[in-house]
């Protein structure tokens, strides 16, 4: 904060920082350092643990990126630090399970080749839709009334509300569906591919592809369509966007739905890794927040890079320090980041966080 005041003195006519959701990355020294360290780490992991480790890290990096992008989008456009993101993941996992397993059972009887390939995708689409609807319900039921009541201390209040939502959803699921683990061994019963001497299951490849495609579609949507442009306008200046006739309420609902939907897709894609149970969302939520805090709050493009950085840091921790320290290392990394570059390695672009 002190730096900011000093820089104000030097340049009296400071242009307001342009906020870009999904803009070009501003690369700073800290970013380069972290990226260099990550690439170094990737090479070392490849040397010591074999290529399989690197490939696995890339696959999980795609998933963390997908989760973090949704989180960053909601934070960037609506200034809501979403703590219930993990619960969207949970909902996605459950929906995929309940859609996919009857299909799978039916398939065992009928033996249809087409359904065998398409079945999981039906699960993913159902999960995406469920996440979208969940997002719309939450936004309309909770944030819309709050926005109408007061914008005072918005960031903190919104954060606490999402904490409450997360609590309700977790315990509600526990109450209705029960605490049992519901998982599947794999989506597609085919032999794993062999690539660079690494055995890769089809599930992982598809999960990674879906992550990449989802992010690409989101990019296209935000950069090239009229609605996407409106979303970016709202993220830059809400009252300005209101003045030029953008329906703020619609944009907010849409953004929240998109964000939760991305988390649900991630939950559905990773059902073979994370079984569905009420508190399954905690770990994905933790990693999504780790990414978002690392790259800077609300920085969507940064979140994509950050997902992979975090995945490699995680792989490095498992390789060299031990799985037991998986929860401690992120905290230490975050402490260092907060000391060196408090607004994240790519810089924070959320005005609301700084204002309140």
């Amino acid at each position: 904060m002190a730096e900011r005041i000093n820089s104000n003195d030097k340049t009296k006519t400071r242009k307001p920082a342009k906020k870009r959701v999904f803009g070009k990355l501003k690369t700073r020294t800290s970013a380069w350092v972290v990226i260099a360290v990550t690439i170094g780490l990737a090479i070392v992991i490849g040397k010591v643990g074999g290529v399989a480790q690197v490939v696995n890290a890339v696959v999980s990096g795609g998933m963390w990126a997908l989760l973090a992008v949704g989180l960053a989008l909601i934070l960037g456009v609506m200034n809501i630090p979403n703590f219930s993101h993990g619960e969207s993941f949970m909902v996605g996992a459950y929906v995929a399970y309940f859609v996919f397993s009857p299909l799978y059972k039916y398939n065992l009887v009928s033996g249809s080749k087409f359904l065998f390939i398409v079945g999981p995708f039906i699960g993913f689409i159902a999960a995406a839709l469920a996440g979208f609807i969940l997002g719309i319900i939450i936004e309309r039921l909770i944030f819309s009334p709050l926005r109408k009541r007061t914008r005072e201390r918005w960031v903190m209040n919104a954060f606490l509300l999402t904490v409450g939502i997360s609590f309700i959803l977790t315990n509600g699921t526990n109450l209705v569906i029960g605490p049992n683990f519901r998982g599947i061994p794999r989506y597609w019963d085919v032999a794993p591919f062999s690539f660079l001497g690494v055995r890769l299951t089809v599930d992982r490849i598809v999960a990674f592809t879906i992550a990449v495609v989802s992010i690409a579609v989101l990019w296209f949507f935000l950069r090239r369509t009229k609605t996407g442009r409106a979303i970016r306008a709202v993220s830059q200046d809400e009252s300005g966007a209101d003045m030029v006739g953008i329906n703020i309420q619609f944009i907010h609902t849409l953004t929240f739905g998109l964000g939760t939907s991305m988390a649900s897709v991630a939950g559905a894609c990773l059902l073979f890794m994370f079984q569905a149970y009420p508190t399954v969302g905690l770990k994905p939520l933790y990693f999504a927040w780790y990414v978002v805090m690392l790259v800077g709050l609300g920085n969507v493009s940064g979140a994509i890079v950050g997902g992979f950085i975090v995945a490699f840091l995680q792989a490095g921790t498992q390789q060299f320090i031990g799985v037991a320290w998986e929860e401690v290392v992120p905290t230490i990394v975050m402490m260092l980041v907060l000391i060196v570059a408090p607004s994240g390695i790519f810089g924070s672009e959320v005005k609301g966080i700084q204002e309140q």
């Binding site: 903190m156 954060f159 606490l160 927040w289 929860e327």
Partner: protein, 350 residues
């Protein structure tokens, strides 16, 4: 005195009311406290079974007070509150350990261990606050959460020190099977924490806290050093949490990482503090006792629905936050003002 003048509600205080006011009790509040203190001797409450509920209520209430000091005044939510509490509990329990299977076998008496635990918790709070409270509130909340998960991970993984997920079984505080002495210990701790917090918030520190909580830039412009006051506040809150952790360890005599430090424990305290009302301190106390009774009743009436009380917590919290942010304490204050105005009108005052 300064603060009462500034708040513009200077009152003529005499005798016992004056003393009570200075330590933060209104007459009615004090009466409620006395009722609470004699409750263990009144039949339905004197059974050991219900005494445990009362103890748990007081424990939650004390936590809510310590939590509200940061959440309600400087508007920073300590999301690692349960973990900090667990840190205090674990420190005390480890120091009291005599089992030869663990590294530390000091066998220190819990009475000293509790305070050492509190100091350790306060120190961690200080470091955490020092790193994060230079920044905006959200960073502190998320970082506290991260630190909480790290402490949970450590407690689970340093098996030589904590027995991991199996948990510790520290010695109990008193050599008695009765719950009544424990109730008075936790009640004393609750009142002490409340009085300390109240005295702090009544001094010029409290004014600074409120200013920082409302608008940090305006507060900074009027010469308040945000880091100093916020770190002080955070440290005090963490210290209280550590002390309560010590009580938890030596009362429940079983300590597992998941049961003490999990994020959902923080959320429970948060829900009680927020339903009680932010920035009043006593709101949490007012909410915690009825809540514990309600929940225990619900649990025994509907055993087939585990976790229903948690859903009710969540729903109530969300409703209060959207539609009545002042909470229960705010409602009590509002009602008191209304009654006062009504009485004055009746007496023909105006």
């Amino acid at each position: 005195m300064k603060i009462t003048e500034l708040a513009g509600r200077k009152r003529k205080m005499t005798g016992i009311t004056n003393i009570l006011q200075r330590v933060g009790f209104s007459p009615s509040g004090f009466i409620l406290l006395v009722v609470l203190a004699v409750l263990p001797f009144i039949p339905p409450f004197s059974s050991e079974f219900i005494l445990r509920w009362l103890i748990f209520g007081a424990f939650l209430a004390a936590q809510a007070v310590a939590f509200d000091l940061t959440a309600g005044y400087i508007n920073v939510v300590n999301f690692g509150f349960a973990a900090i509490l667990g840190l205090g509990a674990y420190t005390s329990a480890i120091l009291a350990n005599t089992s030869p299977y663990l590294i530390v076998q000091t066998g220190l008496t819990p009475w000293i261990g509790m305070f050492i635990g509190a100091i350790v918790a306060g120190f961690v709070g200080f470091i955490l606050g020092f790193l994060t409270l230079r920044l905006r509130g959200l960073y502190a909340a998320i970082m506290a959460w991260f630190v909480g998960i790290a402490i949970l991970g450590l407690a689970r993984n340093l098996i030589k020190l904590t027995r991991g997920s199996l948990g510790l079984s520290p010695p109990s505080l008193l050599e008695t099977s009765s719950n009544r002495p424990y109730f008075y210990i936790i009640l004393t701790m609750m009142v002490a924490i409340y009085i300390i917090c109240k005295i702090v918030t009544r001094s010029h520190y409290g004014l600074a806290f409120r200013a920082l909580g409302q608008n940090i830039d305006a507060a900074r412009a009027s010469g308040i050093n945000p880091t100093k006051y916020r770190v002080f506040n955070f440290t005090l809150s963490c210290f209280c949490a550590g002390l309560l952790g010590g009580f938890y360890a030596h009362y429940f005599v079983s300590l597992t990482p998941q049961a003490v430090m999990h994020t959902s424990k923080t959320v429970e305290v948060l829900a009680i503090a927020f339903i009680g009302g932010r920035g009043f301190l006593w709101g949490g106390i007012l909410t915690a006792f009825p809540f514990v009774f309600f929940i225990e009743y619900l649990r025994s009436a509907l055993p087939g629905l585990p976790g229903l009380h948690l859903v009710i917590y969540g729903v109530l919290m969300v409703l209060v936050m959207i539609y009545y942010p002042k909470g229960l304490a705010g409602f009590v204050v509002w009602a008191r003002e209304k009654i006062k105005i009504y009485k004055e009108e009746k007496n023909g005052g105006f």
